[in-house]
């Protein structure tokens, strides 16, 4: 795998011009994602109604990979049922750690190449862990860390 396969045009594009990169004042679920080792942070905001993710936005700062991943993820989950987003989280998570082939993920597939770069897997999964944290948390907001993926509900 060479660098061009990691930094595909779609990643570069979403890295440069992230979609859904804005605050969501009406958010019903939010989560902070931190990568304490490199300092990447994203703030994920969801507006969930009747089991459907009506809006998904983020802000924060990170590398091309984590920004593109958040951008692509928010596009993918917008309009989805919460259960479907959870399935997608699991599929994505599996694909990025698997050795062999896994379910095709459409446009998200471009992020899976990162598995050849072990130090960067955490960048690609940061937004996704934040998604799980936001959805699972009983509270309105939560914080997760790439180090354990553990959810720390805010006090």
């Amino acid at each position: 795998m060479n660098l061009n396969e990691l930094y595909q045009e779609v990643i570069l594009d979403h890295g440069r011009k992230p979609r859904n990169f804005r605050l969501l004042p009406m958010a019903t679920h939010t989560a902070e994602g931190h990568n304490p080792l490199c300092g990447d942070q994203i703030h994920l905001m969801l507006s969930v109604r009747n089991g459907t993710i009506e809006e998904a936005t983020f802000d924060g700062c990170g590398c091309a990979i984590s920004t593109a991943s958040a951008s692509l993820m928010t596009e993918a989950i917008k309009g989805q049922k919460v259960e479907d987003a959870e399935v997608l989280f699991r599929q994505f998570q599996e694909a990025i750690v698997a050795n062999g082939d896994t379910e095709p993920l459409g446009v998200l597939e471009c992020l899976i190449g990162v598995k050849e770069y072990p130090t960067r897997v955490k960048c690609a999964t940061l937004a996704w862990h934040a998604l799980r944290a936001a959805l699972e948390s009983e509270e309105k907001s939560a914080t997760i860390s790439t180090e354990t993926g553990e959810v720390i509900p805010h006090a």
């Binding site: 304490p36 490199c38 130090t119 180090e147």
Partner: protein
């Protein structure tokens, strides 16, 4: 056994030397055990091939170092059967592991009048940190009496238990006398009043099987250099819930999530308790040591060590004026003794001239020495590589000392 032993000894180049013109007979294994070649190679190879700082690098060497470092954490957690590898916190040694618990757990949880019960035989490493924190918190430290055999007086412990008792601290294997304490039973008793149990496992990894879940302990402290690993590395096992609830001990890099002058937030386990650059080579060496121990035929090694202990005990009991201190039914291969003809320190010097390395003194257990009314003992402690011949030389040296003094 002999062929096995010879092959084993070949792994320890340090043993192949003479001191004062005599073959080295190393019987100071409870102070520090020697390292086999695979441990030296593991560390050297790390420095020659993968040396980098861990956790923070995007480059290959750093990734390799991180992978090896975290793999070592898994090795150690499996060796003692911890539930999660992040329940293993790397420290510089057993002493630091205990200080971490005393300071972090003790500092946050002990209130005036709370009690910490420690066996009368504890190593200073499991007394002084508690005294320091007791002074700050107003907690009270009470010694649990020992029988004359060196065994813990469980009846006395039972009588001391109350809901004031917040923690019971006891070593698994006594470095001074060899006693193996009945941890499961102590844990059962402590739990009955809701007290936590910290086990000082400095001497354990080389000598007893450890299963922290089966034992039911809350904290377990370990030392690398007493388990065929390098110096400068040790570990604390702590139950996840406890470690999660504890405040950080030392501050620095890697243990934080975010730092600002206004507000700092802390990282998750295990990083929360591991600020700064860890001893990566040391941790890798420790894992190599445990792999090496795990690769030995544990039944025959156990039998060999028991036979060394029996042999030494028998021979020492034969010499007039020699008294063994510590006669528990369950013992690690350690014999501690005093004589009516020579002070332990003088024995140490005479033994050294015979090539025999033992320890003389209080073994960092002054209260234990006082309990037995001795200023110190002479202590011979055995490792896998010791032989019956080593014991014969030890006994010859003791007879020579008797000649001089008696």
């Amino acid at each position: 056994m002999t062929a096995l032993l010879d092959a084993l000894r070949d792994q320890f180049p340090v043993l192949d030397q003479t001191v004062h013109g005599k073959r080295l007979v190393y019987l100071d294994n409870a102070a520090t055990v020697q390292r086999p070649l695979p441990v030296l190679h593991a560390m050297d190879t790390f420095y020659r091939e993968s040396n980098a700082n861990v956790h923070r690098g995007v480059h290959l060497l750093s990734q390799r170092a991180t992978d090896q470092f975290e793999a070592a954490r898994v090795t150690i957690s499996r060796f003692i059967n911890a539930r999660f590898s992040h329940e293993i916190i790397f420290t510089k040694g057993c002493t630091e592991a205990i200080n971490l618990v005393a300071h972090s757990w003790g500092g946050a949880n002990l209130r005036p009048g709370d009690e910490v019960l420690l066996s009368h035989g504890e190593h200073h490493a499991n007394i002084v940190p508690w005294q320091l924190i007791a002074e700050r918190t107003g907690a009270v430290i009470r010694p649990i009496p020992l029988h004359d055999s060196g065994e813990l007086d469980l009846e006395a412990l039972r009588a001391m238990l109350s809901d004031r008792v917040k923690l019971v601290g006891v070593k698994h294997v006594c470095n001074a006398l060899g006693t193996i304490h009945p941890i499961e039973e102590i844990v059962r008793m402590a739990k009955s009043v809701g007290a936590l149990v910290l086990v000082d496992g400095a001497q354990s990894l080389a000598n007893v099987d450890v299963d922290v879940q089966a034992l039911g302990v809350d904290f377990y402290s370990m030392s690398g250099h007493k388990a065929y690993g390098p110096m400068g590395v040790g570990a604390l096992y702590g139950r996840e819930e406890l470690l999660n609830a504890m405040p950080p001990y030392q501050g620095g890099g890697d243990m934080i999530r975010t730092v600002s002058f206004e507000k700092t937030t802390f990282n998750d386990l295990p990083n929360k308790f591991e600020p700064g650059t860890p001893n990566v080579a040391g941790v890798i060496g420790l894992a190599a040591a445990l792999d090496w121990v795990a690769g030995l035929d544990s039944a025959s090694i156990k039998a060999h060590k028991q036979s060394l202990l029996d042999h030494a005990t028998e021979e020492l009991n034969r010499i007039e004026g020699v008294k063994i201190i510590g006669t528990a039914a369950q013992k690690a291969p350690v014999v501690s003794f005093v004589t009516d003809f020579a002070h332990p320190h003088d024995l140490g010097t005479i033994f050294d001239q015979h090539g025999v390395a033992i320890r003389a003194g209080h073994h960092c257990c002054m209260p234990l020495m006082k309990r037995f009314g001795v200023p110190g003992t002479a202590r011979a402690s055995f490792a896998v590589y010791n032989t019956n011949q080593d014991i014969i030389v030890l006994i010859e040296a003791l007879r020579a000392a008797r000649e001089i003094f008696a």
